[in-house]
Assembly symmetry: D3
């Protein structure tokens, strides 16, 4: 299996139970997670050697975040203890026609105050195969974006494959700002993951990758992917295709270009338990498919099924094994295993 | 915004968690609510000045009910403390093919023992715009019905708009009894809200307002509405149109006659978290549409979306803002707000 | 009403709340149940005199299991206290595309160590009408299978109707082993309940009873049923027909041959709260239909509706009354009962 | 072991978790209990054949109450289903200097509307040894008091021992009223249980039985007991001696006159988990001691230890075995049993 | 009753259930509170007209904080919606020898960014009797301290009584800094509340007010109080006297100088449910005693009993009535109220 | 800091919430722990490099146990996945006079089926300083005892310090059996930890080490310790001294002989949250004291304070830092840290 490093912010997630609104809640459920962390945890469940690099404050919450992650077998030994606070967000898990809602409280977090030179990337990347980051880490602060670039350059130099999930968040920056910051950074990226609707990705390519449901196919996404490859130099591109019928029901499919051809997965109908981390399940599935040497159809089928399963698990982490993903990717379905 | 007064009974609602049956339950979730109270709370969330008038016993449960309501910004200063007990009901929230089930324990409640003369309606209605009540308050006791009539007459005299939600409950009275009691009272009503299936409303009009799904349209409801206007003197009429596929899934639409024409909303598919208070969400939506000067299509679209959202929130209260209702009424849908 | 005896193993079921995975859980919900126990409890809710025979250890868990069952009105006075431990299993209740998962810990249980001669069947069957067991009890140990045979023979001798639910579990034995063990035992069975997909039943009959959805009808199941009747001597046969769309959604129908003709119920769409015990709800429905003298269509409609309701209740037990099943069997549907 | 019948009201108890006040609570813990029911359950745990007679409404709450009791092995087959509602009370479990607080909602309960002639005492008392009731049942209504008298007379006639726990509740009646009603009834009582502070007992005897802590001894209580025996004809008398240091800490001792001499138990220091039902634990201990043929010291030691243990168990029921009480009565103490 | 205004920061308090450490917790209990808010809520329970002034962000958490406070009858209409975030803290409730532990996350809160001129004190103080603040609000930021001074001056000018609880927090500032900032502000204070151990108070007076337990008496505290009166111009002074035996057990007494003499309360033994807000209970008791015209002994007895009760209630708020405090102040004690 | 290896069984612990009895419980709290595991976790919190060696089944429960332990920073990489089941026990946490109660279900566990040769002790002990085991692992099976001996011999050979906690459990074996099995094994032990009441330790020494409270002192324990040193060759001996006043309150002290003299700690009064793992807290404290080079008084003070704190934390693990133990050992006490 592979040896993967991911880097980004870990947040305290406080979610209301029973789909309650924040104004009703008398308890919050506690989860620690963040997009790159979620990818690392999923890869560890798939059997890979996963290292998560981040920064947390030297207090009980920082330690709790580390404990939370390492229980799932991720190497947390390179996480910095610095800065003033753990970023947090408050989450209402929506239902039916009521959207999930996030209130961020992540300003001045330890991760956003990370600076180039603080992390010894040379040491960390020694003997590793893969480095993954996302657009969110580029968005949280200028210095965090610099550290992402520092890491991506070091990873390339050390011979690692570099992947990036664009993961645009309108509350963190504008599409315009995102393009300016990410443009130079993604030059180091081998494997790009995103959505055809992502405004930063669209802006960098100069093309709209959103295709209406009836027209979707592997071929339909080819022009957008080819433009991405041509303009941004990606070797592989994976796209997520989500339709939102309600907070409780989505459909999800994946598209994947492996450098030679484009494949599309079947479309999964999803009854949602917890949507956060769904896309990270997809990313980990793509990384696993490549590391495991799957062909492009197998890779995207695996990744889409992983994403679908991630929606059925409370919390951000996709706590499923390779066997469980394969079963969900196939038609084996959801009969009780007993 | 408007200044609205509602009047009725507030009940202690004890519901079983996790769709449990009463015989399984070891804990009850506590909610305080009642149809007119729910309307007041929803209007307060929409930004209106809402006053709720009721009667509770002078004990800890009565105080708890008041506290519960005023946390959401409703004026509870005119609630009487009198009588012997807070009415209560036990609720199993059904699932799939199993219906939700209510066991009432509301006899001899403080609200049912309220009597004409106890409430100073002249003072309460000073500077107010609207008075709302429902058929349930007319049903709980003869003296409560008298107080409703007393209030409706006083409200008309003070120049308020008066609205009534028919809200028939077969466990409280017969349709025949309902017609006798409500007939004289609804003469004071400007805005009538109900269902085409409501037997009291049907009885008073002498026409069946239930239209099978394939034949439904704004026009299809016009004869029933015109009969209501002609016979009962309503100026505006709003109807709810619900189909029940299971305890977990309903569809919901609204019809609204604004004195000039009839409009019908789109039909919402609802994944139900908590059905109680759904109709009150619709009522509050209609009142808001009228107070905010929406046109008839906007009014009914807003009200139907409000009702749909009310089904997604634990408890009776529709804790959503105007912006959230507008988003649900439009196609914006249920993507995570982050 | 009838006087029914069931015999089998009762297990401690430890399930994760909120669809959590075992590796996430910090609490387990406690249920005690087992297929024959579930049938007894359901029949007691239908008003029958139900006796459950089993064996539990003489410790607090054994007593807790007895307490749990007798709260629902089942006679537990004949349960043995012997052996070393209460069998247990751990259950993740799946969601969407993620299957429910069971980890068994039932080796060396009190019930598996039960031996012929330990139970006074003559005394227990005195004045009784019906004896029910399942294939699971035959599978847990050779000695338990011997006790099942001992009981079935004694029941026939005492003039009781004997029913068997085949209930194949691949984790307990192979289909081949199942056929060898159950072949002689089912010679005593009057009423057979199973699925057309059950490999033991298929093996004993020598025919595949699985019919694809579009071809299903009462008639379509007739050849399989006739073969069962001819080869195995059953007087009545009931089959369950389940399709699994996801862990959250199944469809469920029943087929029933009453010795003269075959009837099929409508197909229920099920939003699942807790799938365990669904089949036991069907079995109890068939037994009730026969004991109550329902005709074959009424019997299978009742049984399928009972099974559908069983999926909507937390835990194994189908805590519904005859009236509630009849309502679900008809079109009355799932409106709030208030 | 003995065959004991108890009669009285069973209530739905709704208590706030975590010592919360009612105005804070969002959940209530559910317990069903009542003084005579608690005695029956405790005796069943001690191995006696216990029958509880009461009346509950024919709704889900009445059934839930029956289920709750029969899980602990008490015969509930003679409980009437009649009347309109299950009496209820709301309980805040105090802490430290904050007293526990009860809000009753028990008017018009099924038990309070029970009438002479409704219960077939002759049948119920057949083959039984003991009948127990309390002053609370005499207090809830005149008709309930008449049924108590009817039962006590029938029990004496059938040769049963009759016991009464005075159990004065100031919220139910005045001491004066209590004396008038209970005076004639207690003429049928063999074994009286109460407190030297009970105003009804004091009034009937005409003496204050409250002795300050430093002066307490078996001998010190003798005059009060002798007066009770002389004036009221009791054959045996048991007194509870409680000092309240805080809601969390009480001391508890017992005094017992067996017709020949007086014995006093050691004083137990109690860390309270749930005080309700403590006195019922004492009563069941006295009844057990007499039925088991313990001498007077053993009887009162057992009863006081049972009462102490009852305070350590959530809910009203004293779910402890004879062995556990004996251990607590001795010096064996509270080391982990592992 | 009085009309009281308090001003300060309201925080989101996230506490671990069951005395868990933060690293163990999977849920946090939610409370909103803050020292001046707690005083306002307690005074509202005592029947006073209480207004709480603060600043919260214009997001769901700010609204939730307002809702939380106004449920208990406090006027929240003057709370500003400004700034970026609601201050928060994480609380482990200790037990036995393990101290409670707080992790603050309150930097850059809405309240800390409040500035002079933002609040219309003239309007707010119109018709009011009393203004209360604490040293914590002076400590959170220089601008907050300026607003405190602005308010205190305005209050004096409007003829209100001004009270201050010194409430030193070592994590917020040094004693030296505290003296510098609070020195000028407390010149406006009529009623000072604090502890003899408070380093700011000690520093301003230049005397140690900590008296060992055996030497404590009203007289013993006189020199410290007289120095405070002389140096700082207070008219009344109240001191709290706490000894900490463990996280579960403290003793608590109060001392009060009413301008003429010094009185001391009895010492309460406290079994602690939730210590946060205990001192605020004392403060509210002192304010109530003065407003109600109690003599000095009654005032301090009431305040100390109020503080003791505050320790028995989950959360910061002292949700007890005047009657309940009086009962706890007397010897009535902690018998169940039923 | 040191590098410590511990070896033993990890169990699934299922405890009832709220001091409930097993027969009442509807939920179990989940903890994974075991005496040697608890020691490893505590040492990891103190900053040591801790490795825990055990065996768990290759199923979700085995994985959950590993995850649970590694979240706290213990190296679990040498845990075997073999055997059939994870041992379990059910725990009622007692209160007041009611003892905590354990129902074991640990037969045939993966750990009990471990055999010599399965674990590569040479590799594991490379670069390590310390090996710890307990008498419980010797008691669970003959093969487990053999593996303990194998490990102790290998540890001595590799130059590690070897410690043993006698930890007698009457439910696992007799004192006689314990002496036979442990006699040869403890010849390899450098540091012995136990109680003067431990029957195996007493038997091996041939002396009773239980000293009544009034006579206790460092000197009083000297004869027992000297006999242990002489007969069994220990270099250091630590004894725990517990008195049980109730399930809620114990006292705890430690005695420690460092090869030169005997020291005794102060006696801690303990309000118990969770007693399981208290002794393991003491053991880890002794190991830490030795590894950190504390003198004998400091070592035993630290260990006793660690044990006292361990009783205040839910679960088996003593999740406290060195600083927190030092504070508890001193007089700093239990004031809120804020």
């Amino acid at each position: 299996m592979g040896r993967v490093v991911t880097f980004g912010e870990i947040l305290l997630r406080l979610s209301t139970p029973r789909h309650e609104r924040i104004s009703q809640a008398r308890q919050f459920d506690i989860i620690y997670g963040g997009t790159e962390c979620n990818v690392a945890v999923s890869l560890a469940q798939f059997g890979h050697d996963a290292t998560y690099v981040s920064a947390v404050p030297a207090n009980d919450l920082g330690q709790a975040a580390i404990n939370y992650v390492r229980q799932f077998g991720v190497d947390t030994g390179s996480i910095l203890r610095q800065g003033r606070r753990l970023g947090a967000y408050f989450l209402e898990i929506g239902a039916g026609g009521r959207a999930s809602k996030v209130v961020y409280d992540r300003a001045d977090s330890s991760a956003s105050e990370i600076k180039p030179g603080m992390i010894d990337w040379v040491r960390i990347f020694q003997g590793k195969d893969w480095f993954h980051f996302s657009g969110i880490t580029c968005a949280i602060s200028a210095s965090a974006a610099s550290v992402v670039e520092e890491a991506a350059v070091a990873a390339k130099k050390a011979g690692l494959t570099v992947s990036c999930d664009f993961n645009y968040r309108a509350t963190l920056w504008s599409a315009e700002k995102g393009r300016q910051v990410m443009g130079p950074i993604v030059r180091n990226v081998d494997v790009a993951i995103g959505s055809g609707r992502d405004p930063v990705l669209q802006g960098l390519i100069g093309m709209d990758g959103n295709i209406p449901a009836p027209k979707r196919s592997a071929e339909a996404y080819r022009p957008f992917i080819e433009a991405a490859v041509q303009k941004l130099g990606f070797k592989k591109v994976a796209l997520t295709v989500r339709d939102i019928y309600s907070s409780s029901r989505n459909t999800y499919a994946g598209v994947y270009y492996d450098g030679q051809g484009v494949a599309m997965s079947r479309t999964h109908d999803i009854d949602i338990v917890d949507r956060v981390g769904g896309g990270d399940g997809f990313t980990a599935g793509i990384v696993h498919g490549i590391l495991a040497g799957f062909d492009r159809q197998h890779t995207v089928d695996f990744a889409a099924a992983a994403a679908a399963l991630a929606h059925t698990i409370h919390g951000d982490f996709n706590l499923v094994s390779v066997d469980e993903v394969e079963a969900a990717a196939g038609s084996a379905g959801a009969d009780v295993r007993r």
